[in-house]
């Protein structure tokens, strides 16, 4: 038995490849712990823009950036060639949105429709994340107000400034399911201080459904629908539905879409959408978004 041991040891040495050769293909990186898998990471780029089409999206602007937005809604397409399928009539909104922190942004805008000013604050107490302590959805809260600056309809009566104002509140619950698919729910409440008809409610509740499906790296199909729970009046207003295509060109995001809504702030498109899809009362529209870096980032380069 003892005599066998020496040949066995020699054999073992002969069979084992020389250490230097063995290490040629050695995975040195595996010797180091991988922190990347443990680190908490917020899910980004659920949408190309902080707006789905009309409504707010679960996406936030990066801190220190400003999004200059120019929105156009044209006339109804069914007007035919005489009005060039609605393109003769444009309604627009110009807006400036600011990214303040990772989960806080604010913006202002003005629409030609009802000469309305609007402003909002959007804050996410919870954000979708992966890694340690992951969270499945982003929850964002939006509060905004609008101010109609049209001349008073009846200047002979006593008018109050508060009559010009409306408010909206929204909870956005959204999830980026994968690289191409994002879905969000947005329960919304709009409060009008003054409504034109006594039969109309001051408070309108709606449930928003927004989503994105990426068709390629730079092109995505988007939809944005608000289902009104109350305040629908036969032949007056209806639920706003918009279907669009997001095109990212390198510096700009173009959001082209078809919609039955003409308003470009929450008060206007939730409570005052008059066109109907089933009657072909659709409008072509686009949002143009250009993001500028306004605050310099820490110099690390």
């Amino acid at each position: 038995m003892k005599k066998l041991l020496i040949p066995i040891i020699i054999l073992l040495y002969a069979l084992l490849p020389p250490t230097a050769v063995a290490q040629q293909n050695e995975d040195l990186l595996s010797l180091i712990g991988d922190d990347a898998k443990v680190k908490k990471e917020f899910v980004k780029y659920a949408f190309k823009s902080p707006r789905v089409i009309n409504g707010h999206s679960m996406e936030f602007l990066a801190p220190g950036t400003m999004d200059f937005r120019i929105l156009h809604r044209f006339g109804e397409i069914n007007q035919g060639f005489q009005n060039f399928f609605g393109l003769d009539q444009a309604s627009m909104r110009m807006g400036f949105d600011f990214g303040i922190t990772r989960n806080l942004m604010a913006g202002i805008g003005r629409s030609t429709y009802k000469k309305e000013l609007d402003a909002f604050v959007k804050y996410a107490p919870l954000m979708q994340s992966t890694g340690s302590k992951p969270f499945p959805v982003t929850v964002a809260l939006v509060a905004g107000m609008t101010a109609n600056t049209l001349p008073w309809a009846d200047a002979t009566i006593e008018n109050y400034f508060s009559s010009r104002l409306a408010y909206y509140y929204q909870i956005i619950i959204g999830r980026k399911f994968n690289e191409s698919f994002t879905l969000q729910l947005a329960p919304t409440m709009v409060h009008n201080n003054l409504v034109p008809l006594s039969s109309q409610p001051n408070d309108v509740f709606a449930l928003g459904f927004g989503g994105r499906f990426k068709l390629s790296k730079r092109i995505a199909f988007t939809w944005d629908y608000f289902h009104l729970m109350n305040g629908i009046q036969q032949d007056v207003n209806t639920h706003p539905l918009s279907l669009g295509i997001d095109i990212e060109t390198g510096g700009h995001v173009f959001q082209l879409h078809l919609s039955n809504a003409v308003g470009m702030n929450e008060r206007a498109f939730v409570t005052e959408t008059t066109g109907r899809w089933d009657k072909g009362q659709l409008r072509f529209g686009f949002n143009l978004s250009r993001v500028f870096q306004i605050k310099k980032r820490a110099e690390k380069i």
């Binding site: 003892k2 041991l5 020496i6 040891i9 250490t19 230097a20 290490q23 040629q24 050695e26 995975d27 040195l28 990186l29 010797l31 180091i32 922190d35 990347a36 990471e41 980004k44 780029y45 602007l61 990066a62 801190p63 220190g64 950036t65 990214g99 690289e179 790296k217 730079r218 990212e248 060109t249 390198g250 510096g251 993001v291 870096q293 310099k296 980032r297 690390k300 380069i301």
Partner: protein, 187 residues
């Protein structure tokens, strides 16, 4: 006699293992900068990653790098978004890796302080594509610290990174890659 032989063998094996351990150096805070700026670029198209992992075995010159793509930082948030979303697709291909070796490792005296010119050759994997890369670099030995430096260029098309027609004249088709790592002994 037999027991002594076994002891000697085991001791020898342990010794050689220990020698291996001391020949390895690493960092988790290495730096890789890339620059794809051309004269027509409106701003510097450059990003930097300060969390690069690098491990080197001085005994055989093997050197490996790993960089998390999302750790590249840019001066403009939008550039960072485009980098991750459109160019390197960092969700699909989260890491870039280099696995290679110093081909003239025997000319470097790791026991003696100084600067040594080296040649590095290996495979760079990025955006799901692997290409052989060969470059000149420098290893600076300073006590227990090794500094590894190299600069090379990579053609974006080699790694199937497409620059859209619209910005083709504003983004370089080749990226200059600058590597700087300060390695400590791996214990």
């Amino acid at each position: 006699m037999m027991k002594q032989l076994i002891h000697a063998t085991v001791a020898f094996m342990l010794l050689s293992l220990q020698a291996d351990a001391q020949s390895r150096f690493f960092t988790k805070t290495g730096r890789i900068k890339f620059d794809a700026t051309v004269p027509k670029s409106p701003e510097a198209i450059a990003g930097v990653n300060n969390a690069v992992i690098c491990v080197m075995d001085t005994k055989n010159g093997n050197i490996q790098f790993s960089a998390v793509m999302k750790s590249f930082e840019f001066k403009a948030a939008l550039m960072e978004e485009h980098f991750n979303e459109n160019y390197v697709e960092s969700n699909k291909f989260p890491k870039a890796e280099f696995r290679g070796s110093v081909t003239n490792n025997n000319t470097v005296d790791y026991a003696k302080d100084g600067s040594y010119k080296v040649k590095v050759k290996g495979n760079l994997t990025m955006h799901g594509e692997t290409k052989e890369v060969e470059t000149d670099g420098e290893i600076i030995v300073r006590g227990e610290i090794l500094e590894a430096k190299a600069t090379f260029t990579a053609a974006l098309s080699d790694y199937k990174v497409k620059v859209p027609q619209l910005v083709a004249d504003k983004v370089s088709q080749t990226a200059k890659i600058i590597v700087e790592c300060s390695l400590q002994p791996l214990k």
